[in-house]
Amino acid sequence: MQDTLNLFVMNIGQWLSANLGTLNNPDQIIVEIARWLRTEFGNWGVVGFILANLMATVPLIAVFSGCFALTTWLERKGLGRIQNRYGPNRVGPYGLFQPMADGIKMLLKEDIVPERADKIGHFLAPVIIMIPAMTGLVFLPIGRNIIAASIDSALLFFFAIGSIVSLSVFMAGWASHNKFSLVGGMRAIAQLVSYEMPLILSAVVVVMFVGSMNTSVIVEAQQIKSWVTSDAPALQCLGQVLGWHVFQPWGLMGFLLLFVSALAEANRSPFDLPEADSEIIAGHLTEYSGFKYALFFLAEYVNTFAIIGICTTLFLGGWNGPNIRPPWSDDPQALLIPGFVWFFLKIFVLMGIMIWIRGTLPRLRIDQLMGFAWKFLLPLAIINLLVAGCFYHMEWYFGWPFSILILCKSYAIVVRLNKSKLVNSNRTYTYA
């Protein structure tokens, strides 16, 4: 084993010197390293085969767990600053080691299983919630061809995996045999099932335009090809940005619908009814402590990352960002700034917006939540589908005014329909 190792090390040195010299395509650094590693593992036999497969998934899990740790810190700092107080600043510089401290605390906490809970369900729930959370990440195109699995029907697979979350949340609620967690579990199922409809319908618009459900094809389609290949750097930058779907009228409406149902699907702020701490303590998480609770926490955040990743791939042009062709390189496909930089930038911007929303908005009641999904988001998603269909066949000078007019009108109509009669919000107060 010793000689293969130093052979391996020697190869790296020689490969690096060869490639780094002529770095003609900085965007594809990781892809080239991966390809080289795969060839290297090729001649290692079965171990190499396993390593090659692991190479696709293990970095994914590592990177997104790292993002999870960063987001917990970001969330507590952001919420703190919104509420005019310092966030955590005692553990490490600016509180950066706070996620680590939380992790260790979670590990050391005693894991209490209630005596009347049935052990199997209580134990299986966090395991089952991890499956959809982690597999959801597989379909996100992080870089140009940095993607774990570019399956033909990737988008539908993502939504199918996402629907398993409701099963595991119910199992957690039902298995911990506590009245509040049962109510939380029932609420979670009702919310997750009824918010899948607007989620899928607002994603279907993009599939209709791009014509394929493969996420990397969707991202490729969000570039204005003619501008990108032209040689003026400004045009290249604009080409990569203006191509995003969010700059189309139907795209903006689709993005907003998708983002709002993503908030609901990930149990985030205005829709965090399953673990509404003021009403039913911690909902389905009441009876969990120690590392199982950390697993739920991790799964919830990674699920949020997956859904935000899908939002960026569909509407914000996954790894497209204003970067130019490096002047010194020869092949026309090269890009200066690697794609994943833009991808993670967009994810953290959307995460910041979610934290901002979490710091501001109170919680909806369960029947308003249902009403909001079925009577507000669903009709808008269907109208958006129709408008996008017409937009596809119309010329741009017809399409834009038509779709903008229809969308705004339908938004106003749906809002008026939803304004319940007995509630008149402008109250007059007499003074005696």
Binding site: V183, S278, G359, P362, L364, R365
Partner: protein, 382 residues
Amino acid sequence: MNTSTGYAPRNYKIVKHKDKTLLEVAMGPHHPSTHGVFRMDVKLDGETIIDLIPYFGYLHRNHEKLAEDMTYFSTMPYTDRLDYLCSMTNNWAYALTVEKLANISVPERAEYIRVIIGELTRLVNHMLLVGFYINDLGAIGTPLLYALREREKILDLFEWASGARMMCNYLRFGGIREDVSDEWLASCNKLVDAFPYFLDEYDQLLTGNEIVISRSQGVGVLSKELAINAGITGPMLRASGVNYDLRKTDSYSIYDRFNFRVPLGQFGDCYDRFMLRLLEMRESITILKQALRDIPKGEIQSKVPPVLKPKPGEAYGRIESPKGELGFYLVSDGSVNPYRYRVRPPSLINLTLLRDLCIGHKLADTIIIFGSIDIVLGEVDR
């Protein structure tokens, strides 16, 4: 259908009610949003409330019996602990009653300082209510922490004047324990001028918010007749449109010198109660401005014998505390300590209506209605 599986008794009961099986849940003393130790036994059909039985008394400290074998003067610090959020209004009500019993006069400057302190405590109480109400609605602490930030400034003023932030024990029979320096009045002026800015920011954050509107309008509607019959007082009564404010009707101490308005609600639901507190805060600021403008110089406590022995007799003094009509009923038999010492707690009497307001609403609404009634368990259980 035999559903017991031989385990220890379950922490919830399945109750038959007509034809539906209900889930009886104890929103127990250990619940995050009951503002202290208070238990509601709730019968749930799905999420809607069928029946609700409140249990309180977890914080009973035998306050009234204690007061019977202590001198009038020694009970004063205990009145801080009644409604521990606004301690000075309790002192004021107690001092007012004893002054009525032993007819002690109160100098001008002391009256003005009492009005200033009373209105500052009303600001603190209303801010806390609005903050906790929105916190029950679900906004994770943001409005609450804005309210706490402003409350800190007022508590610093209290500490500066009386020595303690919450348990001030600052009022004495016939006046006030220590005089208030001019810098204190200046900083109080600065605070009162800066306060409306905070209220506008609060209005912009909350009153127009669609979620707050849809969650609290039409919830827990209290009709005028029911309010009057149940003896409800304070902002909860005015939210139903009944014009009854002790500062106007009794005009005790020197409230008749200030012109201020009393806001009245229209529907008497949670949104009105919430809005009313915000409007009352603005009125308190107008009172504070006028009081700070024309506070006279002079001595702050009239001559009172060190050991007070009032003539046998009885007196009932009441003031408009931020939660309602806070009354003290004292019967003295001429000796050093009172024969009977009774407190009329506004929180307890407002709480009696919890069941009628909550029936038929969702589980989440009971928390909102309970929050909008503004309960402090110290005063409910005494």
